[in-house]
């Protein structure tokens, strides 16, 4: 009896998970759906067509978000990998690792408020560079903590072995350490991209409304009670993570298993 209900229960769970996403896509295709109307007054691609126009500024926000998140993810992953190695070999590595958790003690908004003075002084307030730097400050400790598990005695042995086999420092990185860390590098890139992509508090304070990422845009539309544009921007918001998730699943997790 239990077995008989299992597929139905699982299907129900899948439907439950998929429903918000499906509803969001449908909502992005609607407009003018007032209570007590059973159906919306319009159903089509009108909202989606506005992406190409400057009316909602969605395309611009999408491009800015992609630029910011890619910059943050690339810089964070590369610097996190190399600096985590320095931290591992540092005599005070334990203290440095504990310090890496510091940005997560504070809420992003409080953290941004603490940083705002320095950002104003450095001329980084209200521009894309400032937002990239601010998000880097949140994402970098994550990368540092993430890669700390990669560096261990065995990795040191691999590096030493490569040296005794005649490998230079550069060859040790290119032929051994980087290929061995490939999966971790991709996962870290994916995670830091997501941290940056969905970041709101820090971006809204450092960007002071001038840097309108897609996440900021979603909140703006929701504040305006423009659910149709809100849903549309949400669709755009989940598109890059879904693409990254697909690539991760195909090229990283498969190999890890």
């Amino acid at each position: 009896m239990k077995r008989y209900w299992k597929p139905f229960f699982l299907s129900f769970l899948v439907l439950l998970v998929l429903f918000p996403f499906t509803y969001m896509v449908l909502l992005s295709l609607m407009s003018g759906w007032q209570f007590p109307d059973f159906l919306p007054s319009y159903f089509g691609f009108k909202n989606w067509a506005t992406i190409m126009t400057s009316e909602g500024g969605l395309l611009q926000s999408f491009v800015i978000s992609v630029i910011i998140s890619l910059s943050v993810a690339i810089v964070t992953t590369i610097s996190g990998f190399f600096i985590s190695r320095v931290v591992y070999y540092h005599p005070k590595s334990k203290v440095l690792n504990v310090l890496a958790y510091f940005p997560y003690i504070l809420a992003p908004v409080v953290f941004a408020a603490c940083l705002s003075f320095f950002f104003i002084k450095l001329g980084l307030f209200g521009n894309v560079t400032g937002v990239v730097v601010a998000q880097f400050l949140i994402a970098f400790p994550y990368a540092l903590i993430f890669f700390s598990s990669f560096w261990n005695q065995k990795m040191k042995s691999y590096a030493d072995l490569t040296a005794t086999l005649g490998g230079s420092r550069l060859q040790t990185y290119t032929k051994v350490l980087l290929p061995m860390a490939k999966s971790m590098l991709l996962v870290c890139f994916f995670q830091t991209f997501l941290i940056s992509w969905f970041e709101y508090g820090l971006t809204s304070i450092i960007g002071i409304g001038k840097v309108q990422t897609l996440t900021i845009k979603v909140f703006l539309f929701i504040k305006e009670a423009n659910y149709y544009y809100g849903a549309l921007s949400c669709c755009l918001l989940i598109f890059p993570p879904v693409v990254l998730l697909y690539f991760n699943k195909r090229y990283v997790f498969k190999k890890m298993v």
Partner: protein, 243 residues
């Protein structure tokens, strides 16, 4: 002498791990080194390989002082107890690794690696990944990867420590065969008395950072500090009891 170690001293945080180390080794010979855990064997090997800097003393290889040379320039390969095969490379590429670092031609690499695979009795395994091999096979690949680079000196830090008795015996035979075939000079650290006697042309015993190299196997066997007499007494006792 091919290898001369003169007055090497190494301390970590005021603890003398290696104390005035002095020994010599002729070319194409193997020196087995026995000693308890923590007596300084690994530090000694790493110092010779250039992975650890000595506080004082000289390392002379083939008439040249190599203290200031980087590990990559010494042509001394250090092998760990673990095989440390590169998981992202197949067996062929693992063996070819050192040759690729030296930027040899592909034809040369293919020829030499194929020959080495044959010597290691690993025919048909070239395309396999390390995780598809047994412990003994992995250790053989590790040997091949080191020996193919024709090192001036091979340092082995308990290379068969993690293998079962049967595989260990086969590896000992293979090691003897390869060192003869490729004329390898090596330092072979082990915990196993029998292995030390079988592998070494000379035997040394390390105790609290000091190494004593015996003139002959007889002297080693007769020294009560090495534990050989204790071992002989144990087996003799067992024989008497069973009779």
């Amino acid at each position: 002498m091919f290898l001369e170690i003169k007055d090497i001293v190494k301390s970590f945080h005021n603890e003398h791990v290696v104390k005035t180390l002095n020994f010599q080794l002729e070319a194409h010979q193997t020196l087995s080194i026995l000693g308890k855990s923590g007596c300084g064997k690994t530090t000694m090997l790493k110092t010779i390989a250039g992975l650890v800097s000595p506080d004082s003393g000289s390392i002379i290889l083939n008439g040249e002082r190599i203290n200031d040379k980087k590990p990559s320039e010494r042509n001394i390969v250090y092998l760990y107890q673990e095989d440390l095969l590169f998981p992202h490379l197949n067996i062929f590429e693992n063996i070819a690794f050192g040759l690729r670092l030296k930027k040899l031609s592909n034809t040369d690499i293919t020829e030499r690696v194929s020959q080495m695979i044959k010597s290691l009795e690993l025919e048909g395994q070239a395309k396999k990944m390390p995780n598809q091999l047994s412990g003994g096979q992995r250790q053989r690949v590790s040997f091949g990867r080191a020996i193919i680079t024709e090192p001036s000196l091979l340092l082995l830090d308990e290379p068969f420590g993690s293998l079962d008795a049967g595989t260990r015996q086969r590896m000992q035979v293979l090691f003897k065969k390869l060192t003869k075939e490729y004329q390898i000079t090596s330092l072979f650290v082990t915990h196993d008395l029998k292995e030390a006697v079988l592998m070494g042309d000379k035997i040394g015993y390390m105790h609290k950072g000091q190494l004593k190299v015996y003139e002959g196997k007889k002297e080693f066997i007769n020294d009560p500090n090495t534990g050989v007499q204790h071992e002989i007494a144990f087996w003799d006792g067992l024989k008497v009891n069973s009779d």
